[in-house]
Symmetry: C2
Subunit: 343 residues, 2 copies
Amino acid sequence: MATSTAPESKADAEALIPLFHLEKILNQDQSGRRITLLGSISRRPALLILERAAFTSSATSIPPLLQRITSLANLGANDIYRWYMSSLSPAAPPLPNASEPSPESTDLKLNLIYPCTPKHLAKYTRQRLRHVTETPEIYATHLRPWIARQRAAGRLDWIFNILDGRTEQEDVVLRSSWDTDDGFLLLPDLNWDRKTVSALHLLALVQRRDIWSLRDLRKRHVPWLRRLREQVVRGAGAAAGSEGVSEGVQEDELKCYVHYQPTYYHFHVHVVHVMLEAEGGTQNVGKAWELGGLIATLEGMQNDEDGLDGVEVSYVVGEESDLWKGLWGPLKQGETPTLNQAA
Amino acid sequence: MATSTAPESKADAEALIPLFHLEKILNQDQSGRRITLLGSISRRPALLILERAAFTSSATSIPPLLQRITSLANLGANDIYRWYMSSLSPAAPPLPNASEPSPESTDLKLNLIYPCTPKHLAKYTRQRLRHVTETPEIYATHLRPWIARQRAAGRLDWIFNILDGRTEQEDVVLRSSWDTDDGFLLLPDLNWDRKTVSALHLLALVQRRDIWSLRDLRKRHVPWLRRLREQVVRGAGAAAGSEGVSEGVQEDELKCYVHYQPTYYHFHVHVVHVMLEAEGGTQNVGKAWELGGLIATLEGMQNDEDGLDGVEVSYVVGEESDLWKGLWGPLKQGETPTLNQAA
């Protein structure tokens, strides 16, 4: 207690929780797994913060955890992929399976891949990450030819199909300034549920095909980038409305960034709500570059043709990636990179 | 099943889970709240991914959740602050309190602040975030005088006490190049447990006092910044060892970034393990600037005295912050900022 008399015993502290009377939810964060409650205990205000705990990750702790799975409900299945929700029973005493879990007793989400292949194993095994610094020379000698080969091999055809209106047109939420230098379209990112405004995540694919990644941006692109940013933010605000998001989103609630390395080498800008809590470091330094920061870097350069192919760029790569295996791993070992040797 | 015969029923899918035989933990991420298991079902390989579910956040779902708290154990208390762990019982049937939870049945962490004050309320209530663009003019007119007043008012004395060796010396893991232009010291970040190598997070506080934030960096600082980055990364690798971290850390497993706005206006660099999953967007664009990116921006500039006080910097501010209330909020409303009016 605030007035310090006799120290509170553990039993005293534990006896307070059942007395908590809920008034209001103040916040929910950490991907919904922490919730902050305002309430009262004996008519005095109290804050209670509930947080899903991390799993104990020793091999011996897992079988007892699996035995606690109760009220298991299969939500769907597709070939070898199945997903479920369940409750947990206390460690002791063990319980028989109860009825279907209600939404408020969903403690676990489960995914089962069965039978699985070695490819699944490689994908789901924790890989070691490395922080590398790509010099202009390494980019020119290794990365640029590698990207050119990917483009020549048709690896971007699915993007061009979207741009040309052949596929995924039902997903395009906006085409802006089409058939001008400023042309771009907006698509929902796969991770957005298309309704939660505070998790809004759209991709702006530019129509022009001469920018493969941030490496191709030059000082002369600054006016274009400024217009693009302005139009992408305005378009995303409008698109949020057209997607049935009732609350709407204001332009100063959005931020823009690009990835390097990107998943595909056709210039695209991520536009997200500032409240979005991204999983997997997708907005982290070492992966994401804020668009305004790129513009500032370009603006400071001396000549119109100076660009981001002339600077060092540092980023994080996984040891299971083609880039690590074919380039960074060999370079670290003093060996010849093989990135551009394979067919 | 992979061989498509009759479609699998929900009951069939549910019957697979109890048959899962654990072989190996492949990964644990999302702050430990997702765990990926390799095992077998009927001697065929299977991947099972367990994930703590988000809370249902409707007001009606919370009281039933609170009633499911069982095996509550108080872990500690300090004045009005208490922390606990507990298990959850299934929604039905209700259970009497069982024994102390074992580590593998810790489902929830709880924090209770009781009695709490309006200040706690403001701190824990979800605040709206805004993305703002600070021009060189806004920095010079409003931010710089505001920072100068903070420094003059002694708000940085605690930092100078650490630098001068008066406080927190037991936490200093390294002093490097002391009493030269390159002097810096390394401290563990408060969020690091000081033993998990993949979550390593240190702060490098520079000894020089003329750099308040990234805004003070100029092209002529590039050689100093390059040396600083090199020494900080080398020092952090060594410090990880001296902190009793057995596995060690290699230099290409570390990345460096700075915050803008920072928590305090004395230049400091965050150095983190690339595997660290940061909570609260602390590595996100709009808050964090990768040190290499800053160096690249400075290098591209024309004159030695050109610097980051001459570019636009965009970042995220909360509406409860002094900066929003005193500067960005008024600017948005077309009113006169009050940031530098208060005493």
